[in-house]
């Protein structure tokens, strides 16, 4: 199987291996404006949004070593760091309570030695599936997992009964899980869990 190389995954590896500034700039140029939109959409003022971006970028620089292309796509990893930082900063004045919270964004998962599938392929599968979703379901997922609204808030906003909101989200999520499972991610996770218990 041809190894897919996401340019940002390569950039993260370069940062981890050789503290490569050019790679870091590439990540910054692509993701900062997108993170800014995401953060401002979820209620951060411009100044706070940029502060969160600054902290997110610092974490990317110092913890690029944690990034594992077999576990998540670069955009997912970066999104998760920013999301966690946002929760931390917006909620509790400015004091970082969970100073290390970002390190836990993706618990380490052992990769299969013989597996050459980069996560991008999984990401592409999911992206493909999301592209094919009916607009009404896609918008529910977007509200829930990107704009980070609770099931109750979504029900209020859309006038869809709470039970229906939950069941639609569950259904869509289960289908995506199914796709991940087909890829053997589940087997990986189970194995990793066992090895965690032995250690």
């Amino acid at each position: 199987m041809v190894k897919v190389q996401n340019p940002f995954a390569v950039a993260l590896v370069n940062i981890a291996d050789s503290q490569d500034i050019a790679s870091f700039k590439k990540i910054f140029d692509y993701f900062s404006p997108r993170l800014k939109s995401f953060l401002m959409k979820s209620g951060a003022e411009e100044g706070i949004a940029e502060e969160i971006i600054q902290e997110t970028m610092t974490i990317i620089w110092t913890k690029a070593d944690y990034y594992d292309p077999k576990v998540a796509s670069p955009s997912t990893w970066i999104y998760t760091i920013a999301r966690n930082k946002k929760i931390d900063i917006l909620r509790k004045t400015r004091k970082a309570i969970l100073e290390n919270i970002e390190t836990a964004v993706l618990p380490p998962v052992e990769s299969k030695a013989d597996e050459n599938i980069e996560h991008d392929q999984k990401f592409d599968l999911i992206a493909q599936y999301l592209d094919d979703l009916p607009e009404d379901q896609l918008s529910l997922l977007k509200m829930n997992f990107f704009e980070e609204k609770s099931h109750g808030e979504i029900a209020d906003l859309t006038n869809i009964p709470l039970g229906t909101v939950k069941s639609r989200i569950r259904l869509a999520l289960e289908k995506i899980r199914g796709k991940l499972e087909q890829d053997g991610t589940m087997a990986n996770l189970n194995r990793s869990n066992e090895s965690n218990m032995i250690n």
């Binding site: 910054f28 997108r34 902290e55 576990v71 955009s75 836990a104 618990p107 977007k142 997992f145 499972e181």
Partner: protein
């Protein structure tokens, strides 16, 4: 029930840390969470970019200047090593301030907040916790060992959600005891004579 907890967005450090532990110790949840995060990543790529201010890159460079790379490592402390990585990382180099109630130890692991709290509960083998109710909702995640009460047995990787009208008397597993993580909105409330005494100490 874990579906509810996982798919409603975390709004605070306490709820986020609870979610992360939940994801980590139940493999099925990890997959749900990966799917959920991938959706976040997908929309991040689709969103219309907003230009950042010109000096942000310089600020980023300044804040990374001289910062060392941080390598993955986890704790060798025998107690901590039983906990999910998310908690190990959070508790690293911090002192856990246990409050002991006979055979049960409770430690708050985040600064006090009027609306919620996150606590580690360590129940020694066979120890019994006096009957109590909970103010607000309590989500209890079994991290290690197991416990039982009047209603059932709860093993590692399970979550129990209890409301304020729920009375129960949990007992730690006779061999392993139980370590759990309790995420509570509101103060825990003990009932019964001994419970009243515990209320005074716990709150």
């Amino acid at each position: 029930m874990t579906f509810e907890i996982l798919t409603n967005p975390a709004t605070s450090p306490a709820s986020l840390l609870f979610q992360q532990c939940l994801v980590e110790i139940v493999p099925e949840n990890r997959l749900t969470n990966i799917a959920k995060d991938e959706i976040g990543g997908y929309f991040l790529e689709c969103i219309k970019p907003t230009p950042v201010t010109k000096d942000l890159w310089m600020k980023v460079l300044n804040s990374t200047n001289g910062k060392e790379k941080i390598k993955k490592n986890t704790s060798h402390d025998p107690f901590l090593s039983q906990l999910p990585i998310a908690l190990q990382v959070h508790l690293k180099n911090k002192e856990i301030n246990w409050k002991s109630f006979k055979d049960v130890k409770i430690a708050s692991i985040l600064p006090k907040d009027k609306n919620e709290k996150l606590e580690l509960i360590h129940v020694m083998p066979g120890a019994k916790i006096p009957q109590h109710t909970h103010e607000g909702h309590e989500s209890f995640l079994v991290l290690h060992g197991s416990y039982s009460d009047e209603y059932g047995n709860y093993k590692e990787g399970t979550v129990q959600v209890r409301s304020d009208d729920h009375h129960h008397t949990p007992v730690g597993h006779p061999q392993t005891g139980c370590i759990g993580l309790a995420y509570t909105h509101g103060k825990i409330k003990f009932s019964g004579a001994f419970g009243k005494l515990l209320n005074l100490i716990a709150n």
